[in-house]
Assembly symmetry: C2
Homo-oligomer: 506 residues x 2
């Protein structure tokens, strides 16, 4: 229904703000939207492939005229439209119901609309002055999230940040500022040798933050986990005592609610008891598991999270919000501000005409900050809390379906016993040639190569994608996750069929 | 031309991935696009206001039914469309030709198309695996940027980050890793007491990074500037010597190419000479001024930038790229990787089928990373380097026009002498009641209140926006900037008329 216009030899100078540029602009953007709508429809169509794989050198050489190089001279708008089509053609459909490769997947239509609006508004979160509506939406949404965590009246503080790694970094900064505020002014030499604790199954961003913030990765102590991948509280206590004996000062413990690979929940209550006993900051990294707070059925897995001093929660993971959308929530108000504020005169004028407590930008380690809130707020409006609950429960049901289907199936071996707590299902596929072989080093070595080979075949066929990795002394295995509410049991069946089809002769 | 559908009582569950959801999805998204296109057209229409100002409490109370609160139950799609309209209605049109409030302004149509596509693709920069095209675009664009800086063959490294503050943080981290790599593992205690130097006119993010990374703000030494706001190299050398005498170790110097308020360029060559002499890391914060590298007429202002070890450059400022788009560029390859990598097994498997040197995510302090490159790449394609040059030259010409117009005009006083180097023009408006008064404390106090009052009136009228701030011992003054190529001389004339209209009786 959208009329086509030819843009041959039409260049960008005919678009707005050019005089009489309205029609061309409308036309051009509608052409782009037409490309995008086709992409959206095909993403949900299972006859479409997840990806059309090419090696870097192939794309760099320029496939079918898709030229990535930049030039001094402008291209025609028609060529720009072709570039848009090609960009999507050679990309990966992360919203496809058979894309299981990442914790973030799906393509929520309301979220998409929200993000289109956000980019059209093209503003910045630092002040109420230029983002009045978005600043208020952020405050209201953060308060709701704190209520879901269980902090009284939703009190506390928080901010949206560019991803879970940065949110985790904020948590450590808040802890350091709470106990050793002089570090802000005097540097790490104003504090004793501080120790951070996190489990060996926790996300690598804790170590990354430890390196960046000047603690050093040696002072990020990794705690032992049980076979299931949950941190052992006894090991935490032993290591706290050991650190103290060595003259170090334990500062912070991270408990993970939904580990990246195994998808399990650390025992928050027991960890909180230890943090209370030793007066340590408790951070809960619920980047992946936070979404389960929206589900009355599953939220008990995060029991104790209300005792945390800070929480990372990424709606762009389990809640299907478009990338990026991550929040750091802090129980004590004022710490983020105290820790990060520099009172830049050109942004945070105290003599504005409105209540400047709404200028929240100085809490951030960023100056400019992308508007990540709107798509999330809009999705919450459109679905209600119950809508998120339904989609989260559905994803967890699908994982149970997968688990039940493969746990006793020939050719599969589970990486750990027991039902999935989150949607992660970790397993080895053992091709016929390796079945019945003893558990020797030789078999392990061969098995280690199965997942990468199978994954390569999946990508070359383009039919599905699922992640794999080794973990500790465990050889490469698949980590299946479901966070896309578009996935169904038939997609799980498809994945299993595809693994068996592609792995038969390995 | 877009047919209207009634969405009353239609909820999100009828959209994709719902069965037969294609039509509703297309219809809904086209309705959203219709709202956005209206917004875009009106943004460039000077009869539209820049903003419709309301206080926080007014918006929170819910104006004309615009309810910001979130609920357990879903809203109808019709209400979602109303929410979208209201969100734009009560926001600020940062693309309006009379919005001069921020270094980032404008609404580039190609960039907008690029951002719509980016959100539709909804992927993540950490691996080639799920962002093959975007990863290559990033590499190609960063190389072009390094060529513009003047690094041989465009060699070096870099990454797009969520804003200039984070890019500046990367620069300091790279410096620290280069000279004291043990800090990554052992923390700041592995290094002597390190000192960072930056000018008193530089961006506050340098101090912010100093606090976050464990240096402490006391160890971020502010250098004196001349009247124009340029750092005095002699003060740098004196302070280096002083720090060394005290037993500190100077590490890093930031030179600003385009200061935030005055818009001047530090003398990079002279600073580079001193950095060479004392073996210090030279960072150039060209967040604001980097765009001038695209202009053959103006790039000489950054002479010496090729001697920097790292450079921050925000295309979302002077080049009009949509928010967010900021790059950190590093001359020595491998430092970012060395500094930040943690080799997470679940993302950066070494046994993938493609050349894993394209998995650039481990260079970042983030894990997931938003795709900021596409809109920029697409704009570069559509405009060519020459297109950027034209729009940048135009913005600088407009500033000269403003400067020439007001420098001898009654009621205006320039904050510093001389032509603008960037587009910043800093001035006091002196209302008739204060003209001819002696430069006494009383007059200063009254003058200090003029800019905030005038700004409040501007915002309440909604006709234009321009920033103000004090600086050092200088009382509140206006900082005019132009980064929107949609602005014309008539808009500058309008600003002056409006200041005089609204400030007449102050």
């Amino acid at each position: 229904v959208i009329p086509m216009l030819q843009f041959v030899n039409t260049v960008v100078i005919y678009l707005l703000p050019a005089k009489n540029g309205e029609e061309q602009t409308t036309q051009f953007l509608l052409e782009v939207v037409d490309i995008l709508l086709n992409y959206v429809r095909k993403t949900f169509d299972r006859s479409t492939k997840v990806l059309d794989f090419h090696h870097p050198h192939q794309l760099l050489e320029g496939i079918e005229g898709f030229n990535l190089e930049l030039s001094d001279q402008p291209e025609s708008l028609e060529q720009i439209l072709v570039d848009c089509r090609d960009t999507l053609k050679y990309g990966v459909r992360t919203g496809h119901p058979r894309f299981f490769n990442q914790l973030s997947s799906g393509l929520d239509i309301i979220g998409l609309a929200g993000e289109w609006l956000t980019s059209t508004a093209n503003t910045n979160m630092f002040t109420y002055e230029i983002a009045p509506v978005f600043v208020l939406m952020e405050q209201i949404t953060l308060k709701k999230m704190r209520e879901m965590i269980g902090w009284q009246n939703g009190d506390g503080d928080g901010i949206f940040s560019p991803g879970g790694a940065i949110s985790n970094m904020y948590g450590i900064m808040a802890a350091r500022y709470k106990y050793f505020p002089d570090v802000k002014v005097k540097g790490m030499s104003a504090a004793p040798k501080l120790i951070l604790f996190t489990s060996e199954h926790s996300h690598y961003s804790i170590k990354k933050a430890g390196a960046a913030l000047g603690f050093g990765t040696d002072n990020v102590i990794l705690l032992k986990c049980d076979k299931r991948g949950k941190v052992m509280p006894s090991d935490l206590e032993a290591k706290i005592i050991e650190a103290k004996q060595k003259g170090y000062v334990p500062l912070y413990v991270n408990a993970t609610a939904g580990t990246t690979v195994y998808g399990v929940f650390d025992p928050i209550q027991e960890i909180a008891d230890i943090c209370d006993k030793y007066n340590l900051w408790l951070h809960v990294d619920a980047a992946w598991g936070g979404g389960l707070l929206m589900s009355r059925k599953h939220r008990h897995k995060l029991n104790g999270i209300e005792r945390a001093n800070s929480v990372t929660w990424n709606p762009h993971k389990m809640m299907g919000v478009l990338l990026q959308c991550s929040a750091i929530l802090v129980r004590e108000k004022g710490l983020l501000q105290g820790c990060n504020q520099m009172c830049a005169g050109y942004l945070f004028q105290p003599d504005k005409q409105y209540d400047v407590s709404y200028d929240t930008g100085d809490k951030a380690i960023q100056c400019g900050r992308h508007v990540d809130i709107f798509k999330f707020w809009l999705m919450w409006k459109a679905k209600g809390t119950v809508g998120f609950e339904i989609q989260i429960n559905k994803c967890l049901d699908l994982s149970m379906y997968l688990y039940t289907k493969i746990k006793n199936r020939e050719g599969y071996k589970m990486v750990f016993d027991g039902e999935p707590e989150h949607t992660n299902v970790c397993f080895w596929f053992i091709p016929p040639s390796l079945r019945g072989m003893p558990d020797c080093a030789d078999q392990m070595e061969k098995l280690h190569k199965v997942a990468p080979k199978l994954k390569a075949r999946m990508m070359e066929c383009g039919t599905t994608m699922v992640g794999y990795q080794p973990q500790g002394d465990k050889t490469n295995f698949f980590r299946m996750v479901v966070s896309n509410p578009a996935a169904t049991m038939s997609d799980i069946d498809f994945l299993i069929d595809e693994i068996e089809r592609l792995g038969q002769d390995l």
